[in-house]
Protein backbone atom coordinates (compact mmCIF):
# COMPACT_ATOMS: atom_id res chain seq x y z
CA UNK A 1 0.00 0.00 0.00
CA UNK A 2 1.30 3.40 -0.95
CA UNK A 3 0.00 6.32 1.08
CA UNK A 4 0.84 9.85 0.00
CA UNK A 5 0.15 12.94 2.09
CA UNK A 6 -0.20 16.03 -0.09
CA UNK A 7 0.70 19.39 1.37
CA UNK A 8 3.29 22.11 1.29
CA UNK A 9 4.74 21.49 4.72
CA UNK A 10 2.16 23.43 6.68
CA UNK A 11 1.39 22.38 10.29
CA UNK A 12 -1.87 20.79 9.15
CA UNK A 13 -0.04 18.64 6.62
CA UNK A 14 2.43 17.48 9.23
CA UNK A 15 -0.40 16.58 11.60
CA UNK A 16 -2.04 14.64 8.79
CA UNK A 17 1.11 12.67 8.14
CA UNK A 18 1.44 11.85 11.79
CA UNK A 19 -2.16 10.67 11.98
CA UNK A 20 -1.61 8.50 8.92
CA UNK A 21 1.40 6.86 10.53
CA UNK A 22 -0.49 6.29 13.75
CA UNK A 23 -3.45 4.77 11.95
CA UNK A 24 -1.15 2.44 10.00
CA UNK A 25 0.58 1.39 13.16
CA UNK A 26 -2.68 0.72 14.94
CA UNK A 27 -3.94 -1.40 12.07
CA UNK A 28 -0.62 -3.10 11.53
CA UNK A 29 -0.43 -1.91 7.93
CA UNK A 30 3.03 -1.87 6.50
CA UNK A 31 2.58 1.06 4.15
CA UNK A 32 5.00 3.39 2.50
CA UNK A 33 4.07 6.92 3.61
CA UNK A 34 5.35 9.71 1.38
CA UNK A 35 4.91 13.45 1.52
CA UNK A 36 4.18 15.23 -1.76
CA UNK A 37 5.04 18.92 -1.62
CA UNK A 38 5.05 19.94 -5.29
CA UNK A 39 1.77 21.71 -6.16
CA UNK A 40 2.06 20.60 -9.78
CA UNK A 41 1.67 17.06 -8.51
CA UNK A 42 -1.49 18.08 -6.65
CA UNK A 43 -3.35 18.91 -9.85
CA UNK A 44 -2.14 15.72 -11.52
CA UNK A 45 -3.47 13.61 -8.65
CA UNK A 46 -6.79 15.47 -8.62
CA UNK A 47 -6.12 17.05 -5.23
CA UNK A 48 -7.71 20.48 -4.87
CA UNK A 49 -7.47 21.24 -1.19
CA UNK A 50 -4.57 20.39 1.09
CA UNK A 51 -3.82 18.54 3.27
CA UNK A 52 -4.92 15.47 1.34
CA UNK A 53 -4.43 11.75 1.79
CA UNK A 54 -4.07 9.68 -1.37
CA UNK A 55 -3.91 5.90 -1.17
CA UNK A 56 -2.72 4.07 -4.27
CA UNK A 57 -3.96 6.88 -6.48
CA UNK A 58 -7.36 7.36 -4.80
CA UNK A 59 -8.04 10.59 -2.92
CA UNK A 60 -9.38 9.57 0.48
CA UNK A 61 -9.42 12.91 2.25
CA UNK A 62 -8.76 16.43 1.13
CA UNK A 63 -9.00 19.86 2.68
CA UNK A 64 -8.88 18.77 6.29
CA UNK A 65 -6.84 16.88 8.85
CA UNK A 66 -8.48 13.48 9.16
CA UNK A 67 -8.47 12.04 12.67
CA UNK A 68 -6.77 8.74 13.42
CA UNK A 69 -10.21 7.17 13.80
CA UNK A 70 -11.40 8.39 10.41
CA UNK A 71 -8.20 7.17 8.80
CA UNK A 72 -8.47 3.76 10.41
CA UNK A 73 -12.02 3.37 9.20
CA UNK A 74 -11.16 4.42 5.64
CA UNK A 75 -8.06 2.26 5.44
CA UNK A 76 -9.90 -0.73 6.82
CA UNK A 77 -12.52 -0.36 4.11
CA UNK A 78 -9.85 -0.28 1.45
CA UNK A 79 -8.25 -3.43 2.76
CA UNK A 80 -11.36 -5.52 2.92
Amino acid sequence: MNIAVFGMGCPKCKATEQNVREACKALGIDAEVTHVADPREFARAGVRMTPAVVVDGTVLFSGKVPTVEELKEALQKLRS
Binding site: G7, M8, P39, V47, M49, T50, G63
Partner: protein, 349 residues
Protein backbone atom coordinates in the same frame (compact mmCIF):
# COMPACT_ATOMS: atom_id res chain seq x y z
CA UNK B 1 15.27 48.23 27.18
CA UNK B 2 12.92 47.48 30.04
CA UNK B 3 10.56 50.22 28.90
CA UNK B 4 10.35 48.61 25.52
CA UNK B 5 9.43 45.19 26.86
CA UNK B 6 6.88 46.76 29.18
CA UNK B 7 5.33 48.60 26.24
CA UNK B 8 5.06 45.32 24.38
CA UNK B 9 3.45 43.61 27.36
CA UNK B 10 1.03 46.48 27.90
CA UNK B 11 -0.05 46.29 24.28
CA UNK B 12 -0.57 42.58 24.76
CA UNK B 13 -2.64 43.09 27.90
CA UNK B 14 -4.87 45.70 26.28
CA UNK B 15 -5.33 43.50 23.31
CA UNK B 16 -6.17 40.34 25.19
CA UNK B 17 -8.54 42.20 27.51
CA UNK B 18 -10.53 43.88 24.78
CA UNK B 19 -10.39 41.62 21.74
CA UNK B 20 -10.18 37.96 22.58
CA UNK B 21 -13.78 37.32 23.59
CA UNK B 22 -15.72 39.61 21.33
CA UNK B 23 -13.47 39.61 18.28
CA UNK B 24 -11.28 36.56 18.09
CA UNK B 25 -13.47 33.82 19.51
CA UNK B 26 -16.33 34.50 17.07
CA UNK B 27 -13.88 35.13 14.22
CA UNK B 28 -12.24 31.75 14.75
CA UNK B 29 -15.61 30.04 15.07
CA UNK B 30 -16.70 31.65 11.82
CA UNK B 31 -13.54 30.62 10.01
CA UNK B 32 -13.80 27.09 11.34
CA UNK B 33 -17.43 26.98 10.26
CA UNK B 34 -16.59 28.09 6.74
CA UNK B 35 -13.91 25.45 6.41
CA UNK B 36 -16.10 22.64 7.70
CA UNK B 37 -19.54 23.59 6.29
CA UNK B 38 -18.75 25.21 2.96
CA UNK B 39 -18.05 22.71 0.24
CA UNK B 40 -14.98 24.33 -1.26
CA UNK B 41 -14.47 21.53 -3.74
CA UNK B 42 -17.68 22.56 -5.45
CA UNK B 43 -16.62 26.20 -5.58
CA UNK B 44 -13.34 25.14 -7.19
CA UNK B 45 -15.20 23.04 -9.73
CA UNK B 46 -17.11 26.10 -10.84
CA UNK B 47 -13.88 28.04 -11.14
CA UNK B 48 -12.25 25.44 -13.36
CA UNK B 49 -14.96 25.74 -16.00
CA UNK B 50 -14.52 27.72 -19.15
CA UNK B 51 -16.25 31.09 -19.06
CA UNK B 52 -15.87 34.60 -20.34
CA UNK B 53 -13.20 36.67 -18.68
CA UNK B 54 -15.64 38.96 -16.91
CA UNK B 55 -17.67 36.19 -15.38
CA UNK B 56 -14.70 34.01 -14.42
CA UNK B 57 -12.90 36.97 -12.84
CA UNK B 58 -15.97 38.01 -10.84
CA UNK B 59 -16.59 34.45 -9.75
CA UNK B 60 -12.97 34.05 -8.65
CA UNK B 61 -13.06 37.26 -6.63
CA UNK B 62 -16.23 36.27 -4.82
CA UNK B 63 -15.17 32.67 -4.29
CA UNK B 64 -11.87 33.71 -2.76
CA UNK B 65 -13.80 35.13 0.15
CA UNK B 66 -14.60 31.65 1.28
CA UNK B 67 -11.83 29.49 -0.11
CA UNK B 68 -8.93 30.15 2.20
CA UNK B 69 -7.81 32.43 4.94
CA UNK B 70 -4.06 32.53 4.66
CA UNK B 71 -1.43 32.66 1.98
CA UNK B 72 -0.02 29.23 2.85
CA UNK B 73 -3.23 27.39 1.93
CA UNK B 74 -3.97 29.51 -1.08
CA UNK B 75 -0.90 28.63 -3.12
CA UNK B 76 -1.85 24.98 -3.54
CA UNK B 77 -5.42 26.01 -4.37
CA UNK B 78 -4.34 28.51 -7.02
CA UNK B 79 -1.76 26.22 -8.55
CA UNK B 80 -4.23 23.35 -8.54
CA UNK B 81 -6.64 25.46 -10.55
CA UNK B 82 -3.94 26.68 -12.90
CA UNK B 83 -2.45 23.28 -13.66
CA UNK B 84 -5.95 21.84 -13.79
CA UNK B 85 -6.85 24.11 -16.69
CA UNK B 86 -8.21 27.38 -15.24
CA UNK B 87 -6.92 30.58 -16.79
CA UNK B 88 -3.88 32.25 -15.31
CA UNK B 89 -5.95 35.32 -14.49
CA UNK B 90 -8.28 33.27 -12.31
CA UNK B 91 -5.39 31.55 -10.53
CA UNK B 92 -3.72 34.82 -9.64
CA UNK B 93 -6.99 36.44 -8.57
CA UNK B 94 -7.44 33.65 -6.04
CA UNK B 95 -3.83 34.05 -4.98
CA UNK B 96 -4.42 37.74 -4.38
CA UNK B 97 -7.96 38.06 -3.04
CA UNK B 98 -8.07 35.14 -0.62
CA UNK B 99 -5.47 36.55 1.77
CA UNK B 100 -6.03 40.25 0.99
CA UNK B 101 -9.70 40.29 1.80
CA UNK B 102 -11.38 37.16 3.07
CA UNK B 103 -14.40 37.22 5.33
CA UNK B 104 -12.30 36.67 8.45
CA UNK B 105 -9.89 39.52 7.76
CA UNK B 106 -12.73 41.75 6.71
CA UNK B 107 -14.91 41.43 9.79
CA UNK B 108 -11.85 41.75 11.96
CA UNK B 109 -10.67 44.89 10.17
CA UNK B 110 -14.14 46.32 10.61
CA UNK B 111 -14.25 45.82 14.34
CA UNK B 112 -10.73 47.14 14.84
CA UNK B 113 -10.51 49.98 12.34
CA UNK B 114 -14.11 50.81 11.54
CA UNK B 115 -16.60 49.88 8.86
CA UNK B 116 -15.40 52.39 6.28
CA UNK B 117 -11.91 50.91 6.31
CA UNK B 118 -13.31 47.39 5.92
CA UNK B 119 -15.47 48.49 3.01
CA UNK B 120 -12.51 50.25 1.38
CA UNK B 121 -10.49 47.11 1.85
CA UNK B 122 -12.92 44.88 0.02
CA UNK B 123 -13.60 47.32 -2.80
CA UNK B 124 -9.91 48.05 -3.34
CA UNK B 125 -8.99 44.36 -3.22
CA UNK B 126 -11.55 43.49 -5.87
CA UNK B 127 -10.55 46.34 -8.17
CA UNK B 128 -6.95 45.22 -7.82
CA UNK B 129 -7.98 41.62 -8.46
CA UNK B 130 -9.48 42.50 -11.83
CA UNK B 131 -6.41 44.51 -12.81
CA UNK B 132 -4.02 41.78 -11.67
CA UNK B 133 -6.03 39.11 -13.46
CA UNK B 134 -6.10 41.12 -16.67
CA UNK B 135 -2.40 41.90 -16.50
CA UNK B 136 -1.44 38.30 -15.91
CA UNK B 137 -3.59 36.97 -18.71
CA UNK B 138 -2.40 39.71 -21.07
CA UNK B 139 1.27 38.97 -20.44
CA UNK B 140 1.12 35.18 -20.19
CA UNK B 141 -1.96 34.12 -22.13
CA UNK B 142 0.03 32.45 -24.89
CA UNK B 143 2.17 30.40 -22.54
CA UNK B 144 -0.65 28.51 -20.93
CA UNK B 145 -0.56 24.97 -22.22
CA UNK B 146 -2.56 23.18 -19.59
CA UNK B 147 -5.41 21.14 -21.03
CA UNK B 148 -8.63 23.09 -21.34
CA UNK B 149 -11.36 21.68 -19.11
CA UNK B 150 -14.14 19.87 -20.91
CA UNK B 151 -17.01 22.14 -21.84
CA UNK B 152 -19.72 20.05 -20.29
CA UNK B 153 -20.50 20.87 -16.73
CA UNK B 154 -21.44 18.01 -14.52
CA UNK B 155 -24.06 18.28 -11.82
CA UNK B 156 -22.48 19.50 -8.64
CA UNK B 157 -23.30 19.20 -4.98
CA UNK B 158 -24.58 22.10 -2.94
CA UNK B 159 -22.01 24.64 -1.82
CA UNK B 160 -23.62 25.15 1.55
CA UNK B 161 -26.60 23.60 3.25
CA UNK B 162 -29.34 25.96 4.35
CA UNK B 163 -29.16 25.23 8.04
CA UNK B 164 -25.38 25.59 8.18
CA UNK B 165 -25.69 28.84 6.20
CA UNK B 166 -28.03 30.16 8.86
CA UNK B 167 -25.63 29.03 11.56
CA UNK B 168 -22.73 30.85 9.90
CA UNK B 169 -24.91 33.93 9.67
CA UNK B 170 -25.65 33.76 13.41
CA UNK B 171 -21.95 33.41 14.18
CA UNK B 172 -21.28 36.39 11.94
CA UNK B 173 -23.85 38.40 13.91
CA UNK B 174 -22.13 37.49 17.18
CA UNK B 175 -18.95 38.90 15.68
CA UNK B 176 -20.43 42.06 14.18
CA UNK B 177 -23.19 43.21 16.51
CA UNK B 178 -21.21 43.62 19.76
CA UNK B 179 -18.58 45.65 17.92
CA UNK B 180 -20.91 47.79 15.83
CA UNK B 181 -23.90 48.32 18.10
CA UNK B 182 -21.98 49.10 21.28
CA UNK B 183 -19.43 51.70 20.42
CA UNK B 184 -19.07 53.39 23.80
CA UNK B 185 -19.62 52.46 27.41
CA UNK B 186 -17.93 49.73 29.42
CA UNK B 187 -16.52 46.71 27.65
CA UNK B 188 -18.77 44.53 29.76
CA UNK B 189 -21.78 45.57 27.65
CA UNK B 190 -20.11 44.12 24.58
CA UNK B 191 -19.34 40.91 26.41
CA UNK B 192 -22.96 40.53 27.52
CA UNK B 193 -24.31 41.00 24.00
CA UNK B 194 -21.66 38.64 22.67
CA UNK B 195 -22.59 35.99 25.27
CA UNK B 196 -26.30 36.22 24.43
CA UNK B 197 -25.64 35.80 20.72
CA UNK B 198 -23.21 32.97 21.33
CA UNK B 199 -25.73 31.06 23.42
CA UNK B 200 -28.22 31.64 20.61
CA UNK B 201 -26.11 30.08 17.88
CA UNK B 202 -24.88 27.31 20.16
CA UNK B 203 -28.46 26.27 20.87
CA UNK B 204 -29.33 26.51 17.19
CA UNK B 205 -26.33 24.36 16.26
CA UNK B 206 -27.20 21.79 18.89
CA UNK B 207 -30.79 21.54 17.66
CA UNK B 208 -30.16 21.39 13.92
CA UNK B 209 -26.79 19.77 13.32
CA UNK B 210 -25.63 16.20 13.95
CA UNK B 211 -22.99 15.94 16.72
CA UNK B 212 -20.40 14.84 14.17
CA UNK B 213 -20.74 18.08 12.20
CA UNK B 214 -20.42 20.14 15.36
CA UNK B 215 -17.31 18.23 16.40
CA UNK B 216 -15.78 18.83 12.98
CA UNK B 217 -16.59 22.52 13.19
CA UNK B 218 -14.95 22.86 16.60
CA UNK B 219 -11.93 20.91 15.39
CA UNK B 220 -11.40 23.26 12.46
CA UNK B 221 -11.88 26.22 14.79
CA UNK B 222 -9.22 24.84 17.10
CA UNK B 223 -6.86 24.59 14.15
CA UNK B 224 -7.28 28.27 13.43
CA UNK B 225 -6.67 29.07 17.08
CA UNK B 226 -3.54 26.93 17.13
CA UNK B 227 -2.16 28.33 13.89
CA UNK B 228 -3.05 31.99 14.18
CA UNK B 229 -3.38 32.87 17.85
CA UNK B 230 0.31 32.52 18.86
CA UNK B 231 1.39 34.53 15.82
CA UNK B 232 -1.25 37.12 16.59
CA UNK B 233 -0.05 37.53 20.18
CA UNK B 234 3.54 37.78 18.99
CA UNK B 235 2.47 40.31 16.38
CA UNK B 236 0.70 42.48 18.95
CA UNK B 237 3.72 42.37 21.23
CA UNK B 238 6.06 43.37 18.40
CA UNK B 239 3.69 46.14 17.40
CA UNK B 240 3.71 47.44 20.98
CA UNK B 241 7.50 47.44 20.97
CA UNK B 242 7.66 49.16 17.59
CA UNK B 243 5.21 51.78 18.77
CA UNK B 244 7.53 52.56 21.67
CA UNK B 245 10.75 52.51 19.66
CA UNK B 246 9.74 54.39 16.54
CA UNK B 247 9.40 58.10 17.15
CA UNK B 248 6.06 59.55 16.09
CA UNK B 249 7.83 62.09 13.94
CA UNK B 250 9.32 59.31 11.81
CA UNK B 251 5.99 57.64 11.19
CA UNK B 252 4.43 61.01 10.36
CA UNK B 253 7.27 61.88 8.03
CA UNK B 254 7.40 58.57 6.16
CA UNK B 255 3.89 57.16 6.39
CA UNK B 256 1.80 60.21 7.27
CA UNK B 257 -0.53 61.98 4.88
CA UNK B 258 -1.67 60.45 1.64
CA UNK B 259 1.22 61.16 -0.69
CA UNK B 260 2.40 58.72 -3.34
CA UNK B 261 5.60 58.26 -1.38
CA UNK B 262 4.02 57.21 1.91
CA UNK B 263 1.62 54.96 0.06
CA UNK B 264 4.52 53.36 -1.79
CA UNK B 265 6.46 52.81 1.43
CA UNK B 266 3.45 51.26 3.14
CA UNK B 267 2.89 48.98 0.16
CA UNK B 268 6.51 47.93 0.19
CA UNK B 269 6.48 47.16 3.92
CA UNK B 270 3.37 45.07 3.39
CA UNK B 271 4.66 43.33 0.30
CA UNK B 272 7.97 42.28 1.81
CA UNK B 273 7.29 41.38 5.41
CA UNK B 274 5.26 38.41 6.50
CA UNK B 275 1.99 39.09 8.29
CA UNK B 276 0.11 36.10 9.56
CA UNK B 277 -3.60 36.36 8.79
CA UNK B 278 -5.20 39.05 10.96
CA UNK B 279 -1.97 40.46 12.42
CA UNK B 280 -2.04 43.23 9.82
CA UNK B 281 -5.06 44.83 11.50
CA UNK B 282 -3.54 45.56 14.95
CA UNK B 283 -0.31 46.58 13.22
CA UNK B 284 -2.07 49.13 11.05
CA UNK B 285 -4.18 50.31 13.98
CA UNK B 286 -1.05 51.08 16.01
CA UNK B 287 0.67 52.83 13.12
CA UNK B 288 -2.43 54.92 12.49
CA UNK B 289 -2.46 56.05 16.10
CA UNK B 290 1.15 57.11 15.58
CA UNK B 291 0.22 59.16 12.56
CA UNK B 292 0.04 56.96 9.49
CA UNK B 293 -2.34 58.31 6.85
CA UNK B 294 -5.50 56.44 5.87
CA UNK B 295 -4.39 55.79 2.31
CA UNK B 296 -1.10 54.15 3.28
CA UNK B 297 -2.98 52.24 5.98
CA UNK B 298 -5.25 50.74 3.35
CA UNK B 299 -2.27 49.88 1.15
CA UNK B 300 -0.61 48.09 4.04
CA UNK B 301 -3.80 46.24 4.96
CA UNK B 302 -4.04 44.93 1.42
CA UNK B 303 -0.47 43.93 0.70
CA UNK B 304 0.44 42.87 4.25
CA UNK B 305 -1.25 39.47 4.31
CA UNK B 306 -1.35 39.09 0.52
CA UNK B 307 2.36 39.23 -0.14
CA UNK B 308 5.58 38.52 1.68
CA UNK B 309 9.11 37.56 0.77
CA UNK B 310 8.61 33.84 1.54
CA UNK B 311 5.39 34.05 -0.43
CA UNK B 312 7.21 35.49 -3.51
CA UNK B 313 9.64 32.60 -3.41
CA UNK B 314 6.87 30.03 -3.15
CA UNK B 315 5.01 31.62 -6.07
CA UNK B 316 8.21 31.70 -8.10
CA UNK B 317 8.84 28.04 -7.37
CA UNK B 318 5.36 26.99 -8.40
CA UNK B 319 4.52 29.33 -11.27
CA UNK B 320 8.00 30.34 -12.41
CA UNK B 321 10.12 33.38 -11.70
CA UNK B 322 8.81 35.50 -14.54
CA UNK B 323 5.20 35.23 -13.45
CA UNK B 324 6.14 35.92 -9.84
CA UNK B 325 8.04 39.03 -10.92
CA UNK B 326 5.16 40.40 -12.99
CA UNK B 327 2.69 39.61 -10.22
CA UNK B 328 4.68 41.24 -7.43
CA UNK B 329 5.49 44.31 -9.52
CA UNK B 330 1.86 44.72 -10.52
CA UNK B 331 0.69 44.44 -6.92
CA UNK B 332 3.24 46.94 -5.62
CA UNK B 333 2.30 49.44 -8.33
CA UNK B 334 -1.41 48.94 -7.84
CA UNK B 335 -1.14 49.04 -4.05
CA UNK B 336 0.65 52.38 -4.24
CA UNK B 337 -1.91 53.87 -6.60
CA UNK B 338 -4.87 52.49 -4.67
CA UNK B 339 -3.51 53.81 -1.35
CA UNK B 340 -2.92 57.20 -2.89
CA UNK B 341 -6.30 57.28 -4.62
CA UNK B 342 -8.36 56.18 -1.63
CA UNK B 343 -6.41 58.47 0.68
CA UNK B 344 -6.97 61.54 -1.46
CA UNK B 345 -10.38 61.01 -3.00
CA UNK B 346 -12.34 58.51 -0.90
CA UNK B 347 -11.26 59.06 2.70
CA UNK B 348 -10.66 62.79 2.20
CA UNK B 349 -12.81 64.91 4.52
Amino acid sequence: MRDVVVAGLLALRDYVATHVLTCLVPAFLLAGGIVSFVNREVILEYLGEKRSKLSSFSLASIASFFVAACSCTVIPVASGLYFGGASIGVAFIILWVAPATNILALTYTGSLLGASMALARVVAAIIMAFLVGSTMSLVFQKEHTAPAPSGESQPKGAILEKRSALLLFLVLLSLLLPNYLIRSGPYLHKVILWAVLTVLFAVYAKLTLPPKAIREWLRETLWFVRLIFPLLLLGVFVVGVIGKLLPKTWIRAWLGGNSIRSSFLATLIGAISYFATLTEAPFVSTLMKLGMGKGPALALLLTGPGLSLPNWLAIARVFGGKKALVYVTTIVLLGTVVGWFFGNFIFAP
